[in-house]
Every structure is written in C-alpha cells, then in structure tokens.
Symmetry: none
Subunit: 159 residues, 2 copies
Amino acid sequence: MNSLTKVIGDYIVTLFDDSDSSEIVLSRKDLAQKFGCVPSQINYVLRSRFSPEQGFLIQSQRGGHGFIRIMQLRFADCDEYAEHLEDLVGSAISEQDARRLLVRLQDRDVITPRERLLAEVSIRNLEENGRALFDLPPYKRDTLRAVLLKKILVSLAMF
Amino acid sequence: MNSLTKVIGDYIVTLFDDSDSSEIVLSRKDLAQKFGCVPSQINYVLRSRFSPEQGFLIQSQRGGHGFIRIMQLRFADCDEYAEHLEDLVGSAISEQDARRLLVRLQDRDVITPRERLLAEVSIRNLEENGRALFDLPPYKRDTLRAVLLKKILVSLAMF
DNA sequence: ATAATCTTGATTTATTTTGACCATGCTTTA
DNA sequence: TAAAGCATGGTCAAAATAAATCAAGATTAT
C-alpha cells in the first residue's frame, strides 16, 4: 500500500524528470489540493524525502505569491562516496583528525581553501557549543563532530 | 508566478545594471503607474529589497519634481565588510532569515553556491543538535545560529 | 507490543497588497 | 512676497494570502 507521502514524493520526482532543470518551484496549497490533503502534509513529504542529506535544498516564501522551491544537487556516485566517507570519518573523529582530513582534501583540490576554512569554523563552533554550553564528554563531541563533518563532505560532493 | 514586489525589484536591479553608476534616480509615481500599483507599493519594494542591510541607501524628496535616489553601498576593505556583516546578522537570527541572507550573498557573488550549501548544512546541523539533543528554546537557537553564521561570514570575509 | 512513520488540523508566522491620511516642496496668483 | 494650490513622496495599519510548526491521533512495520 502506497502512502500518500510516497505518492506525493514520487510526483515531485516526476516534476524533476520533466523539467530538465535542477530545480522546481511549486505551491504548497495547490499541491495539497491536487492530492486532497492538508498543506502540512507537504512539509512532511519534504522533510522526509527531500532533505539536504538526500541531495535537495529547499527555499520557500510565505504570504502572497508564496512558493516552495526544491533544488536538486548534482551527484555522480553518491552512495559509493558516502560509504567511502563512512570509512574515512567513521562514527567519531577527533578535532585534530578532522582538521587533518580537511587539509588533505584541500591539498587534493577536492575542496577550496575557503571551503576548508568554512568547515573548520563550523566544526570549531560545534566544539565550543558542546564544551562550554552543554558540557559534553569528549567521546560525545567526537561523535557529533563526525556527524557534522560527514554531512559537510557529502553535501559538497553533490555539487 | 512572480509577485509584483519581485517584478519591481528586478526591474530596479536592471536599472542599476544599465546605468554603470552606483546610483539611480526614479519617480515613485511613475514607477507605480508603470506597474499598475499604488505608490506605497514602491515603498514596500524599497523597504524589503533595497534596505541598508542589503547594501543600499535611499534618499528622496517630496513635492514637485520629487524623486527617489537609490545608492548601492561599496565597502572599502574587509574589516568594514565584516562589521557590516555583524550588523546584518545581529545577535539572533531565524533559520529563514539566515537562509535568505545566504541566498542574497550568493546572488551577489559574495559566496559560491558550494559555500552557501556548506553554510546551510552547518546551520541545519546546529539546528538539529539544538532541537533534538538539547531541547533548546527557539530563542536560544536563534542566538546560537547567529553566532555561527557570523563566524562563518566573517571568516570568509577575511579571505 | 512497540517503534517508526504518516496524517491531520489548530495555531503561528511571514509576505504582499491596498488605501486612507500625513508631510513637504515647487508654482502660481493675489 | 505671502498664501493657496498642486504635485510628490512617506507612514501606518488592515486585509489578503500562504507557508511553518507542533502535537495529537492513526497507521504500518518489526
């Protein structure tokens, strides 16, 4: 049995197929109407099927002429790369190792210096929050760091 | 379908493109007439799209031969730009506003699409941690988000 | 049986559009 | 040259529109 969520998700995918652009724009209200559901269902579909982790970015605007824009990020072998990263980063990583990894990626021109800087700032910020605000134990911080680093690298690989 | 506000805003941008000066002058009444709207709509366009936060300054004069002059700001150096960013983000910012700001910066080629993506992923990660792990109230999340966003933008401005 | 996923609707937030009323600066006229 | 009149632009708030959030309930999968 197909859930409505799946049906709507599939429909959105066909919009991408038909559009040969890497982004589509839609109206939440109209879409909900088309599928006879409440508008917030659309949010659920987007949250569960079109997240950044799944290779999509979403912009939206409320009010008159409101819209939802879904952008699909380009990517060759996402799964393979993600697996590779899983090995590379693992489920926990020290700040040092994270930095070393970023340097290596920059050396190999996988990321630019600015991108490395940006990644390091974000990781550093996570560190500070985890330490000062929440008083997390080191292993927990290593875990959160690994999660963030993988998200960053996966997303960049999509472009 | 585009909102009138967007159409008018885009039109004003083309005026800048065509003018190769950093300022343009226009008549509120004529512009409103051209787009078939009430004059105060023009004020709304200016307020929402050409604010100082967005890098524009406006002068105007009422009465006969009245006018509206829009000036585009330029920044002398990195420090000045960084300071501007501090003002821009403030001490708290919503996820939406943060995203909008990033979009604007990308539109103006201040950051690349990849850099925007990276920033968005980091901010989203922060959001998820703050929400799911630590159960922070919205205001606190807005604060942490502002901190991170400023760190990111300031660091990039240094480059 | 329990956890995960999906569905729903009430409430909140954001954006745009419109209009009534206010302020200011030329221009004309007494 | 002062007053009156006209031509502009500004402000504010209400109405219209539309998306986001949140939590509770329903369903499905393990």
